[in-house]
């Protein structure tokens, strides 16, 4: 009884935290703060081009191209992990294997993919920082990526660590579909940066 009350309190406080964060994000998005922050970031982006990553990315086209390919390979690894774990939650595959086991194994692969994606992504952004700063699709990708990371570590993962039987199956399915949509958006907007910048 005590445990249940404590768990309910935690769930409620987490829900309130997410609600507050979303409200703050909405206020930020629709106020002049967003534009002012964007303007202030310009010097930072110009500085990124002067960092060793930026200089290397701009000077050595071959290095930049290979890092791009590694970024894509890491996205494939990350995408594979996301799709397998979400397909399991939707009941599309591995239904004879406990969902917790699939989630834990997929999460390990996901973390490796994410680290490589972030590292290579920062490298690439440094090389073309002055250009991507002006591309709306770059900011959409950053927003989708931040949403994806937040979603995995603060919503999806904590939720799935609870006893599956306590969870409403429709909530689990909704989480899986949302997760797939967020990461497909990350991949698609990432590809579109190349088109918008050319």
């Amino acid at each position: 009884m005590l445990l249940s009350t404590s768990s309910d309190f935690n769930s409620r406080s987490k829900t309130i935290t997410v609600g507050v964060l979303l409200t703050l994000l909405l206020i930020f998005s629709f106020s002049s703060l967003r534009h002012e922050s964007w303007l202030r970031l310009y010097d930072f982006f110009l500085w990124l081009e002067t960092t060793p990553f930026g200089v290397l990315g701009k000077t050595w086209g071959a290095v930049f191209a290979i890092v791009e390919a590694v970024h894509l390979l890491a996205m494939a690894l990350l995408g594979g992990a996301v799709l397998i774990s979400d397909a399991r939650l939707l009941g599309w595959c591995f239904t004879d294997v406990p969902a917790v086991k699939i989630q834990n194994e997929a999460h390990k692969v996901f973390k490796v993919g994410l680290v490589v994606v972030l590292f290579t992504g920062v490298f690439m952004a440094c090389g073309v920082a002055g250009k991507v700063y002006w591309l709306p699709v770059f900011w959409y990708k950053m927003l989708a990526l931040a949403t994806g990371i937040f979603f995995v570590f603060f919503i999806r993962r904590p939720m799935l660590q609870r006893n599956f039987r306590e969870l409403n199956p429709w909530v689990v399915k909704l989480v899986a579909v949302s997760s797939m949509l967020v990461w497909i958006t990350v991949a698609a907007t990432g590809r579109w940066i190349g088109f918008a910048g050319s």
């Binding site: 086209g61 191209a65 494939a76 690894l77 995408g79 594979g80 799709l83 194994e105 590809r191 088109f195």
Partner: protein, 190 residues
């Protein structure tokens, strides 16, 4: 052989749909985006299968289960990736057929296909005896490692096609690069 490829590419380039696809900003970019997204689907599944065989991922799930369940989405991704790949070639046939990276990529695709055939044959013949082990036997592990290596280089070559460093018009006549790219003397530059 190079002249034959060049003539075929010239003919494809002359078809109206090739030019339309190339010149359509949204259509071309959608085809390329679909190519990349399905590459993520196909290689995502392939990497997990290979890493499972090597004992680096999903060690608690049986190898046959991983391979059998992920084969279907992997093949689905591959088919769409293949079709969109043909469309990308169709849109820019001459430059692509004379890209050194595209030629490497085609050779590696054949090598990856042969490796996949041998890998699946070896796996299906013996999986009942080691399917629940954390690592596959040495022969299957070699196949998985080669698969990872082939596909990683295929993706790198695919990415490099976009760059023009070794295009016929930027390299010296008779150089190794021109020989490997199949440049034709006196051809129209694109």
């Amino acid at each position: 052989m190079n002249e034959f490829i060049y003539n075929i590419s010239m003919w494809v380039d002359g078809t109206s749909w090739s030019a339309k696809l190339h010149e359509s900003y949204y259509m071309y970019n959608w085809v390329e985006s679909t190519h990349v997204l399905t590459l993520i689907l196909c290689l995502g599944m392939l990497f997990v299968i290979d890493l499972r065989m090597l004992g680096y991922a999903f060690r608690d799930v049986s190898a046959s289960s991983i391979a059998n369940r992920l084969n279907i989405p992997m093949l689905l991704g591959f088919i769409i990736m293949f079709i969109t790949g043909i469309l990308l070639f169709y849109a820019v046939p001459i430059r692509t057929s004379q890209s050194i990276w595209f030629r490497f990529k085609m050779v590696l695709l054949v090598a990856a296909a042969i490796n996949a055939f041998i890998f699946h044959k070896q796996m299906n013949e013996s999986v009942s005896s080691w399917g629940n082990d954390a690592r596959a036997p040495s022969a299957v592990r070699k196949g998985a490692f080669l698969s990872l290596a082939f596909w990683s280089i295929i993706v790198i070559c695919g990415r490099l096609i976009a760059y023009d460093w070794f295009d016929c018009e930027y390299t010296d006549a008779g150089s190794l690069s021109q020989v490997l790219s199949g440049c034709i003397d006196g051809q129209t530059q694109f």
